[in-house]
């Protein structure tokens, strides 16, 4: 038993860490640190820096630009990016559309779409959820009817993250509504967001952010060549993606960074000349989260070790990492709000702007609000428990 990375792995980590230190633009790091809004340009700028370095698509095969890393290296890279406070890489193209195309796409589709994804030239979003479908994905209603050499799409998607930035959307649509099994008759379509008939409507979340959208399709004509895999086999595609190797579901690197911030912020909060970190009540809460995070990191590495050993994808274990990881993320934002105390209430300056400190403290409560979504999205934690219950426990 050896909980440490090998010498080679440590060298790799140091290389990544050193490179991130030198190449992560300070303004982007600061924005991340202040929980500021990231513009499309911010996201793409970081994407392109990584693309230039050849590190933007760690899971891709080398022929399409992947760096040829093993699972541990990929995990390390993702954790280091999280810990460094690098902007997230928007996953819809790199980690969702691309793997689907690599597995199910035609050569023509690969050639057409993969380079644009790799170089950050084409921004993708994901059209899965629909009003009323929630975690019950197979209940989707958006229809695509084949008419000659194209499909005509009608329906609505919801919770479409960054659709307002997107050039393209990949969608699950119903091409056969006669099938008795709901999972059948679903197809996987690639749709250009500039096609007439598409309307994007913002959904403002309670932290005031515009991140998700509703997307409406009204007689949208999609060339038949944009069908991925066979008509009616979209569920197979979607399932492949859901089971796709996810390595850092626990987001340990990000939480480690937030824990460091929490401790240093709380240490500066004084009461009667005593730091909040010397308050047993507060400190114990921080300690329990820290211990939980230590455990999660090891659990994540254990699963990774098993994955490397067996060559099998992690399966329902990922659900566990998602549950614990999101609980930790939420606990950290909540403790930050508790740390700032009565100063947590201000939100938006009515004239002029907050100074830097006030802007930071004003970002804590919205962040707490925003982080509530982590236990809801990407398969709510209730769904994750259902998965473990069924897959791991056989209940």
């Amino acid at each position: 038993m050896d909980l440490n990375y090998s010498t080679e792995e440590l060298a790799f980590r140091d290389e990544v860490r050193g490179w991130l230190n030198a190449n992560l633009p300070a303004d982007l790091r600061d924005k991340m640190s202040e929980h500021a809004h990231l513009s499309k340009d911010d996201l793409l700028r970081w994407h392109r820096i990584l693309a230039k370095k050849g590190w933007v698509a760690p899971a891709w095969p080398e022929e399409w630009g992947g760096p040829g890393w093993n699972v541990v290296q990929r995990f390390l890279f993702e954790e280091e990016c999280g810990y460094a406070g690098a902007p997230p890489l928007v996953p819809f193209g790199l980690a969702m559309c691309a793997p689907v195309l690599l597995r199910f796409g035609t050569e023509a589709q690969k050639k057409k779409f993969l380079p644009g994804i790799y170089h950050g030239e084409v921004f993708w979003c994901q059209g899965y959820s629909e009003p009323g479908s929630g975690s019950d994905l197979a209940s989707l209603k958006t229809r695509a009817v084949r008419e000659g050499d194209h499909y005509v799409v009608n329906g609505q998607k919801i919770w479409t993250t960054l659709a307002h930035y997107a050039d393209w959307i990949f969608c699950l649509v119903r091409t056969d509504s006669t099938s008795a099994v709901r999972q059948e008759g679903i197809s996987f379509l690639l749709i250009d967001m500039k096609t007439p008939g598409i309307t994007v409507r913002p959904l403002i979340l309670m932290d005031g952010s515009h991140e998700v959208n509703e997307v409406f399709f009204e007689n949208v004509k999609v060339p038949a060549e944009n069908l991925v895999f066979e008509e009616g086999k979209g569920w197979t595609v979607a399932k492949y993606l859901l089971g796709f190797e996810r390595l850092n579901t626990g987001r340990v690197g990000v939480s480690k960074r937030e824990l460091v911030k929490l401790k240093s912020f709380a240490a500066k909060q004084m009461r009667n000349g005593r730091s909040l970190m010397d308050d047993v009540r507060f400190r114990d809460k921080v300690s329990r989260v820290e211990v939980e995070l230590m455990a999660l990191e090891l659990t994540n590495l254990r699963f990774l070790d098993e994955m490397r050993r067996t060559g099998q994808p992690p399966g329902a274990d990922v659900s566990m990492l998602k549950i614990k990881g999101t609980e930790i993320q939420q606990a950290l934002t909540e403790l930050m709000v508790q740390a700032v105390g009565p100063m947590a209430q201000p939100f938006k300056a009515m004239q002029g702007a907050f100074d830097a400190e006030a802007a930071f403290t004003a970002s804590l409560m919205p962040r707490y609000c925003s982080t509530r979504k982590t236990t809801i999205y990407a398969g709510s934690n209730e769904i994750q428990r259902n998965i473990i219950s069924k897959m791991t426990l056989g209940l």
């Binding site: 975690s135 959904l203 309670m206 507060f282 009565p342 209430q345």
Partner: protein, 371 residues
């Protein structure tokens, strides 16, 4: 033993509830929040007409002499409606005037408050005081017959809307309270919207000159007054939380009954049923403690015992507000996260109530120390 409101209390609670349902819908509130002032003069007039502003004031100055129990049903209804007008700040400041002011000061302010002609704010919190009421750095220097104020107050709810501020300051004698015109020379506000859609400000006092009669009560004798005012307000936000939590629970119950997934309402899933039950139990337990807090701030004459029981209530309300608010969002799924659903606003107000006037940790300390 009697846990019901008396007839007058019930009538008033019902009328406020009707007002919220009829004139203060979530849509109406949205417009108010989006307005420049962030609060509605028309609503304020209605509050005055319904007698809500006169209710907690002394009968000698146009009030009805009501206590926290009389306000309980009102706060409950306002909590459910998420009222953004500065009712609580005005009540707090008026209570300070009532407890510490002389007849002239009371006559100058309270009748106008009762009639809805004046709004007040209670300026107490400072940058590094957290929830400690005795941490007052703002200086009031005796200058000639009057006083000069220098310093800063933070997160003064309702300050941008107030005509007068009641400000705690440190004199040579100790902690004192002053009446300050909101537009007095040297008063500078950085105004903002709070997360729960209230208007508030950080208020700087730079050489603000006050007349002698701006001092409320004796110089240096204000701490017990401030403690009484904040305990009173804490009891009121406990009652407000009961209304807000009921609103969140009702919305969640309604949602899980109607929202379908996998072919049935999600409320048919036992895991969600049990969690919904726990939310209701949290609420019932919190409701009992809100009753206790309101009764005790009205009747308990020993300040130490009053503080102990108000802290007990706030511990339970803080825990319940946290539990109910978080679960209501989780059970709503994505919809609960959106600005357009009322429950996301109830979540924010409840999240702030968790901490307002002291979080559970603060009150655990006070509860144990007062025992």
């Amino acid at each position: 033993m009697d846990f019901e409101y008396n007839e007058e209390q019930q009538l008033l609670a019902d009328s406020v509830k009707r007002f919220i349902e009829k004139d203060y819908s979530f849509e109406a509130r949205k417009k108010i929040v989006a307005s420049d002032a962030g609060a509605s003069e028309a609503v304020w007039s209605t509050l005055a007409e319904m007698g809500l502003l006169a209710l907690p004031l002394p009968t000698a100055h146009g009030g009805f002499g009501g206590g926290a129990v009389d306000l309980m049903g009102v706060m409950d209804a306002l909590g459910a409606g998420l009222l953004v007008e500065p009712y609580l700040p005005t009540v707090m400041a008026a209570r300070a005037v009532m407890l510490a002011g002389n007849a002239a000061q009371q006559a100058a302010l309270l009748p106008a408050v009762a009639e809805g002609k004046k709004k007040l704010a209670f300026a107490q919190t400072e940058a590094h005081a957290r929830y400690d009421l005795d941490q007052v750095q703002l200086q009031a220097e005796s200058s000639g017959a009057g006083w000069t104020l220098n310093g800063e107050k933070r997160v003064v709810i309702g300050a941008p809307l107030a005509d007068q501020l009641i400000v705690s300051a440190r004199t040579a004698q100790g902690i004192s309270l002053f009446i300050v015109d909101a537009n007095a020379a040297g008063v500078h506000m950085q105004t903002y919207r709070t997360v729960d859609e209230l208007r508030a400000a950080d208020v700087q006092f730079k050489g603000v000159k006050l007349p002698a009669d701006a001092l409320l009560g004796q110089s240096g004798a204000a701490l017990p007054i401030i403690e009484a005012v904040v305990d009173f307000a804490t009891a009121l936000i406990c009652a407000e939380a009961i209304g807000a939590m009921r609103s969140a629970n009702d919305a969640t119950l309604e949602y899980i009954k109607t929202r379908k997934q996998f072919g049935q309402p999600i409320g048919a899933f036992q895991a969600l049923q049990h969690r919904m039950v726990d939310m209701v139990i949290s609420w019932e337990q919190a409701r009992s403690m809100a009753c206790l807090a309101c009764v005790k701030v009205d009747t308990e004459t020993n300040p130490n015992e009053r503080q102990r029981l108000v802290s007990a209530a706030k511990i339970r309300i803080a825990d319940a507000a946290r539990h109910v608010s978080q679960e209501s969002i989780q059970l709503h799924g994505g919809m609960g996260m959106t600005e357009e659903m009322k429950v996301s606003h109830t979540f924010r107000r409840l999240s702030m109530i968790v901490q307002q006037f002291g979080d559970a940790d603060f009150h655990l300390e006070r509860f144990a120390s007062a025992a």
